[in-house]
Each structure stands twice: as C-alpha cells, then as structure tokens.
C-alpha cells in the first residue's frame, strides 16, 4: 500500500503505455483476422493453409520474436512498433480461428434464406453473416484482449515500458509490493476490458438476450 501511495503516478503512466501497446495491436489483429477467418470458412481451399499457418505462428514463443522482428524489419529493439507487430502476430493467430468459427456458426438456414429473398452477396455478408457471427466473434475477441494485455508484459524484459516494467523493476530492486501491484493492475485491466467486450456484445446482439429470456421458445435448428 505504501508503495502504491508513493508511486501512483508511475502506475498511471505505465498503464497508459500498456494500453497504447495493447489497443492498436488488438484493433490491427481484429481487422486482419476477420477477413482471413471469413475466407478460411467460405473458401474451402483457403481453410487448411490459413489455419496451419496461424497454428505455426502461434507456436512461436514471444520473447525470441521480440528479438527477431526488429532484426527482420530493421526496427529499434525497444520501439513501440516492435511490440505492436509481435502482439499483432499473436493476436491475428488467435483471432483467425475464432473468426472462422464465428462464420461457421452462422446457421446455414439463415444464409440460404437471406439469398433466397434477394440479398446480394455483399448485403448477405453485411446484413446477415456479420451480425450473426458476433456472439462467437466476441468470445474470440475476449480471449484476444485478455491474452494481449498479459502478453505485452513480456516486452518489459527487453526494455519496452508497460505494466510489466513493474515486474522487472520490482524483481531487480527486491520490492515485492511493486510486483504485486503490477499483477493486480494487469489482471484488473484485463477484467475491465473483458467486461467492456461483454457489454458491447450485449448491445450489438439484442436477439441473443431475448433468447436467453424466453427459454421455452423453439430454438433455431
């Protein structure tokens, strides 16, 4: 507690740097992964290569990647760009599979009837497939957000500032309170943003809420 009262400014600053790395990575991963996930689901030939590639990317440990990416792209080791690229690689790997699952979860019936009543393929994508994919997509987004928040702390060992800096600094100076504060704030941040995702999903998908309320009504088969 004493550590906290003396260092809350540092804490705020690190939280801000943390978010400045997490948010762009999450947004980029999402924007890259959703079209790939869609293609993997709708184009049969694309599925296996896409999912295999994504699996391989995900198998690479992050710490070495924080070292190798700057060498490959000629970036500064401690630059924010380095962290964002690494996080986006993992984020995309996580999200492609979720997005593919999300599009797979759209009932075939709904797709067919949308086409049958005259949606063009773009209209079907925007007005039917995307909205119906939201619930599963958001489940993936939650994993993405929480994992990214936790993973970015690794970047602190190569000197990129974020909440993980509290771990390295606390460890080197032997301050347990600092490490604990880092753990608590990181987990809290994850909980808050996760809650934000849930809330957003509720607002975007009113029909699932009503399905929850009316359990007896015949389900979509």
């Amino acid at each position: 507690m004493r550590w906290l009262s003396q260092n809350w400014e540092t804490l705020l600053q690190l939280t801000a740097s943390h978010l400045a790395l997490v948010l762009p990575s999450v947004v980029l991963s999402f924007l890259i992964a959703v079209p790939i996930g869609w293609a993997a689901q709708r184009r049969r030939w694309a599925r296996d290569p896409a999912l295999t590639l994504v699996g391989i990317l995900y198998a690479i440990p992050s710490l070495p990647l924080f070292v190798l990416i700057p060498v490959m792209f000629g970036l500064g080791l401690r630059s924010a760009a380095n962290a964002i690229i690494v996080l986006t690689v993992y984020g995309t790997a996580i999200m492609v599979r979720s997005a593919a699952d999300a599009f797979a979860s759209v009932p075939e019936d709904a797709r067919l009837s949308a086409a049958a009543i005259g949606h063009s393929s773009w209209q079907r994508l925007w007005m039917v497939e995307l909205p119906l994919a939201i619930p599963v997509m958001v489940a993936g987004l939650r994993v993405l957000v929480v994992s990214t928040i936790s993973m970015v702390t690794v970047a602190s060992v190569i000197g990129i500032q974020n909440l993980g800096t509290l771990f390295t600094d606390g460890f080197q100076r032997g301050i347990v309170a600092e490490v604990v504060a880092g753990l608590v704030v990181t987990v809290l941040l994850a909980l808050v943003l996760d809650g934000g995702c849930i809330l957003m999903a509720r607002l975007l998908t009113p029909w699932t809420v009503s399905q929850r309320r009316v359990r007896g009504a015949s389900a979509w088969t």
């Binding site: 699996g55 391989i56 995900y58 198998a59 690479i60 440990p61 992050s62 710490l63 070495p64 990647l65 070292v67 190798l68 060498v71 599979r97 994993v143 929480v146 994992s147 928040i149 936790s150 993973m151 702390t153 690794v154 602190s156 060992v157 190569i158 909440l163 993980g164 509290l166 771990f167 390295t168 606390g170 460890f171 032997g174 347990v176 490490v179 604990v180 880092g182 753990l183 990181t186 987990v187 994850a190 909980l191 996760d194």
Partner: protein
C-alpha cells in the same frame, strides 16, 4: 544482414556448443525442464480434468482456471515467486506448473465431456463400473483432445522456460538475457532462433503424432487454447 550472419556464425561455431553455457548444455536443460514441468502438471491436471469431465461437476473450476491462467502475466508470477523463493529452479518450475495445468485440465475435461452421453449410458447399461467406463470408453474417445491439451501445455512451457531464465540460470533463454545485457547480438539473435526452431520442431512432432494416432476422420480437430508468454 550482418547481424544475421554473425548469429549464424555463432550457431555453427563448435565452441558455442560446448562448455557450461554451451548450446548443448542449455538445450538439454531446456528440454529436461520442459519435460519435468509438463510431466508434473499432467500428473496433477489430467486426472482432475477426467474426473470433472466424467462427473460433470466442477465445470466452473475449469473455466475459471483457464480464464485466470490467460489473464495472469507469466512474468509477474515468475518474478513474484523468484523474490519469494530465490533464484533457483524451484520458483520457475512452480510458476510453469501453475500456468501449464489449465490447458491440460481443459483438454482432458473437454475430451471426456465430448464423448456421446448415449455411448457412456450404453456402457453403464452393460454393467461396466465407472472406472471401467473411464478407462475403456471415455479415455480412448477423449484422446484427441487430451493430446491437444498436452500439445498446448508443452508449447507453452517451452516458451515460458525461456522467460524463466530471467530469474534463474537455466535454459536457452540465458542467451537472450546475457545477450541483451552484454550487447552480444550474435548470441541474442542466434539463441532466439534456436528457441523458435525448438518450439516449431516440438509442434511439428505433436502434429505428426496426432495425425498418425488419430487418423479417424470422424474425430474433431483439436482446438484447445493455450496461453504463453
């Protein structure tokens, strides 16, 4: 490019491979550490996951454990335990067991739980005891997902063992930390490449094992999540 050449030169130089901090030594430390940690974690988590899947009690435990493991920053846990237990191997081993267990737990749980209830009912109706049901019906059918959990956990531990070198003198991760500190870029980049190669090799071996043992096309693809630093 120059850096990459230097790293390559370091990797193939015989002198890099021998000695107390040679690649051979670090690689075997890394592998032994990984095997021990995954072994201990599996001994604890797999039976628990199977029982939860069989009885369907305690499913919230599974989702809470996987959620917590995902949100918990590995480095935070490592440094905290390092401060508490000193800079030996015990602290990182405990941290890694804690972090690897949820994937194994989830794999075992999901595997057993995915077995068709009617199949299990039929086995029970034939007079099989509960342990016999688990052994002869549920475990074989759950094998793909259990193996998937094992794959996730192993990759996660290989990755996290790298980070463990931050608080203790072990494994391939040393090259990264020593390289960062002493500005030994050849070691830093060469070591990083080694770790990536090791992880991909292990992933490939698992992929192969899964393909060979689970050729049944009716089985679902393995998609347990994992979390690693």
């Amino acid at each position: 490019m120059d850096l990459i050449q230097q790293a390559f030169a370091w990797l193939i130089a015989p002198t890099s491979w021998i000695g107390d901090s040679g690649i051979a030594r670090r690689l075997s430390e890394h592998l032994v550490f990984t095997v021990v940690v995954v072994g201990v974690a599996a001994t604890i988590a797999l039976p628990v996951g199977v029982v939860i899947g069989h009885t369907r009690r305690g499913t919230t435990l599974v989702s809470a454990a996987t959620g917590a493991a995902r949100a918990m920053p590995t480095l935070g846990l490592l440094t905290l335990l390092g401060l508490g237990l000193g800079i030996g191997l015990v602290a990182p081993a405990i941290a890694l067991i804690v972090l690897a267990s949820p994937s194994l737990l989830a794999g075992a749980y999901a595997g057993v739980q995915s077995v068709d209830r009617q199949t299990v009912d039929a086995a029970r109706a034939m007079g099989m005891s509960e342990p016999a049901i688990i052994r002869t019906v549920e475990l074989p059918l759950a094998a793909p997902l259990i193996l998937g959990g094992l794959r996730s956990a192993t990759l996660q531990v290989v990755a996290t063992a790298t980070l463990a070198a931050y608080t203790s003198n072990t494994g391939l991760g040393r090259y990264i930390f020593a390289g960062l500190k002493g500005r030994e870029y050849a070691e830093l980049i060469g070591g990083s490449a080694l770790i990536v190669a090791l992880a991909l090799l292990l992933d490939g071996i698992f992929a192969l094992v899964q393909r060979v043992t689970l050729r049944d096309p009716h089985r679902l693809p393995v998609t347990t999540e994992r979390h690693h630093p």
